[in-house]
């Protein structure tokens, strides 16, 4: 009898402690963060919750090329330091291989886990057309139809324009990136740009839903329908159709060349912008440049069932790889978007607050922001900044 007592009490104690611990781990008990300003989470109602075993999430990590691997390591380091309940399943993709096995493995891993954090994979554009862009393959196979980039002016970063707050929603799977090209006559190449009603309606709906959820008041469609009357005309028509269902949101449209001109003179006039693939590429890069460069803006690719997070402007940074000078902010903010997607909001906000307070510190700016700090210094400072205690 005494033996059973001595056995039962510690056992009961451990059960109680474990259940308390797991309750602490799951976010609903924690008070929601009061700082809503930098929350970038958006959960599609139709998306199923990602994989979760034993309170820990598994996320696919594709390091990529150039500065990708070192930034991926910093993300893992930071997550370990903050005791974030995320395990990374690393899938290496060799972009120099002609076979598509590597990228197919990565796609399968993402299907398994539902979420991924990815570095950019380089595409050698001197190879023949049979070698498709690995990034594009990933996006189209997983049908990640919405690319969302939120460009905001950060307080510590000196730029020519202030008070920019633009959300760019770009169609990610069709348009000019259909990779359908042929050479009927030698010396004459035709490249097809495909615009469909279903995908245009889908992206327009996503844009308006996002605008409503974030309390945004205006959506601008960017197009070139005066020249491409049928293609961009269809896109514009779909946007107008969806706009009629959201009367509280103002909808207007602008031609892409005028848009770029307005962006460099008065970017504060834009709120949410929705556009097809190629214009999205141009506009997102212009906006990223306006708020401080490719090292600061994270990007997210959302689909019905999967979500992949990466840096907003998708650069490999080949020339600065392994020099410890890359700016880790974009990748780390992307990992915060990942945490928001996994509903680990407390961790996300904690890390985001630390990153943003580090960015305001000019002596820690990396070369792209005009400073002389190194990547590891920035990451160390982020880890030092906050006391990483989970309060309740």
């Amino acid at each position: 009898k005494i033996k059973m007592c001595s056995f039962v009490r510690p056992f009961l104690l451990s059960v109680i402690l474990t259940s308390m611990f797991s309750l602490l781990r799951s976010d609903p008990l924690l008070p929601p963060s009061t700082q809503q300003v930098h929350r970038d989470s958006l959960v599609c109602a139709s998306q199923p919750p990602p994989a979760q075993y034993g309170g820990r999430h598994t996320v696919t990590l594709i390091p990529g090329d150039g500065i990708g691997p070192e930034l991926a390591n910093h993300v893992r380091e930071l997550f370990r330091f903050c005791c974030v309940p995320v395990d990374f399943e690393v899938v290496n993709v060799d972009s120099t291989m002609a076979s598509e096995d590597d990228i197919n493995n990565a796609i399968m891993a993402i299907r398994r886990n539902g979420v991924a954090l990815k570095g950019n994979l380089e595409t050698n554009h001197n190879l023949p057309p049979s070698y498709k862009s690995r990034n594009n393959l990933l996006r189209t196979t997983l049908d990640l139809y919405a690319n969302v980039m939120h460009c905001q002016s950060l307080p510590g970063v000196r730029t020519r324009h202030r008070n920019i707050d633009i959300m760019i929603i770009r169609e990610n799977t069709e348009g000019e990136y259909s990779s359908l090209e042929h050479e009927n006559v030698p010396g004459v190449v035709e490249c097809l740009k495909i615009i469909t009603r279903t995908k245009s309606l889908r992206i327009a709906d996503y844009a308006f839903r996002t605008a409503r959820e974030k309390g945004r008041t205006r959506v601008t469609a960017v197009h070139k329908a005066n020249i491409m009357k049928l293609g961009d005309g269809l896109f514009l028509e779909c946007c107008k159709e969806v706009a009629s269902g959201y009367p509280e949101i103002t909808f207007d449209s602008m031609i892409v060349d005028n848009t770029t001109m307005q962006l460099v003179s008065r970017p504060q006039q834009f709120d949410v912008m929705v556009m097809p693939n190629l214009y999205g590429n141009v506009v997102s890069n212009v906006c990223a440049g306006l708020v401080g460069g490719p090292g600061l803006v994270p990007g997210a690719n959302y689909g019905e069932d999967y979500a992949v997070f990466e840096t907003g402007t998708r650069n490999t940074g080949k020339s600065i790889a392994n020099t410890n000078t890359a700016n880790p902010t974009a990748m780390l903010l992307a990992s915060c978007l990942l945490l928001d997607h996994l509903k680990l909001h407390a961790y996300a906000n904690m890390i985001r607050r630390a990153i943003l307070s580090t960015v305001t510190e000019t002596r820690l700016h990396t070369a792209d922001l005009g400073g002389q700090g190194s990547t590891s210094e920035v990451v160390q400072s982020i880890m030092k900044v906050k006391n990483f205690t989970v309060t309740f």
Binding site: S133, G187, C191, L230, M261, V264
Partner: protein, 365 residues
């Protein structure tokens, strides 16, 4: 006898010749330029430019023509034959803004001009104007855009209801032609580098062909540095540091977007010159802003864009001194800030702005 009237004729001819010589300061031959005033503010800014050229004593004789579309034999729309004949003769044109009619049944006039004279290159030099402040200073680049094919071929089909395909056409000849023009321009204007802008990672065959042609042409111009850059990288770097770019050459759509982006960097379309180069040595220089019907006829228009395009035209014709003189006078007026039109931030009339430039041009002599 009959020598009387003959003597009079000889006398009148010599008077004419003397007057011609007085009009041009040096022994430059008078060159004819077809002037297309355009609509809206077009006529007043064209008059302003003519006045300034007269003050500078530039050896230019203007031939005014109208280009409203008319229906030719066979039902095809075309520009009036006298305009075409004048352009073919003079080879150089200066055009003001043209109204794009919405329901007139004919295509835009700019498109018609482009097709008639095969204007394959659109050249836009973007130089920061000292005195007209924008967040970007020290911009000094040129965008050269292929103007005939690419994404603007206008070939679109509805495959099934709800699925549209637009065709982007890239041909070897057009790519080679534009690349050759770009390198020639770089050489003639002492530019150090040419950058080809593309998206060959995604559009492998089409932009790949464009790139290959640029590389081939670059082999013949070893004195000019040649680089290639992705469109998104160019956009990213352009808004952060535009000084790293010199001459940019690209297909139609990227050119449209980038040239307007660069115009935005220096202050908008109201101060940006533009030139269209065609086959057979034809060149039409134009202002790319709109017709501004709300201020037409009120003497409020800003002639800077058309004036700078006219300066580009002078340089194209080899009359660099006149071009530099007029450009300096124009920039001095803007820098001085005393007589600026409303869009430049002042309160003066177009005629006052023009008069100030004329005065400066004469002082520079």
């Amino acid at each position: 006898m009959s020598s009387g009237p003959l003597m009079v004729e000889v006398w009148m001819l010599s008077v004419d010749l003397l007057q011609e010589q007085k009009r041009s300061t040096s022994n430059d031959l008078m060159q004819t330029v077809t002037l297309i005033p355009g609509d809206g503010i077009g006529p007043e800014i064209s008059t302003a430019v003519m006045k300034i050229f007269e003050a500078a004593k530039a050896p230019i004789r203007w031939e005014e023509r109208n280009v409203t579309a008319i229906k030719g034999p066979g039902g095809r729309w075309m520009i009036p034959p006298d305009a075409k004949e004048s352009m073919d003769r003079s080879k150089i044109g200066l055009k003001g803004p043209l109204k794009t009619p919405i329901a007139a049944g004919h295509p835009s006039m700019n498109l018609l001009l482009r097709k008639t004279f095969d204007l394959y290159a659109n050249v836009r030099p973007c130089v920061s104007i000292e005195g007209y402040k924008t967040p970007y200073t020290d911009v000094n680049l040129v965008t050269i855009r292929e103007n005939t094919e690419g994404e603007y071929s206008g070939i679109e089909h509805v495959i099934v209801d709800g699925v549209v395909q637009s065709i982007k056409l890239i041909t070897e000849n057009a790519s080679r032609r534009i690349a050759e023009y770009a390198f020639e321009y770089a050489r003639n204007n002492q530019r150090s580098s040419v950058t080809a802008v593309h998206k060959a990672n995604i559009m492998r065959m089409s932009d790949g062909l464009f790139l290959r042609k640029c590389r081939e042409v670059a082999e013949n111009y070893k004195d000019v540095k040649f680089t290639e850059m992705y469109l998104d990288t160019v956009c990213l770097n352009m808004v952060q540091d535009p000084t790293q770019f010199d001459v940019l050459v690209m297909p139609n759509l990227y050119g449209d977007i980038l040239s307007d982006l660069c115009a935005g960097l220096i202050g908008g379309l109201g101060v940006t010159p533009s030139g269209n180069i065609g086959a057979n040595g034809v060149a039409i220089f134009e202002s790319v802003h709109g017709t501004a019907p709300d201020i037409a006829g009120l003497d409020l228009a800003n002639p800077t864009a058309l004036l700078l395009s006219a300066v580009m035209m002078l340089r194209h014709m080899g009359l660099h001194d006149y071009g530099n003189k007029i450009q300096t006078a124009c920039f001095d007026t803007i820098r001085d800030k005393k007589v600026l039109t409303k869009d430049l931030g002042g309160n003066s009339k177009c005629s006052e702005f023009t008069a100030d430039i004329c005065r400066r041009v004469q002082d520079l002599d």
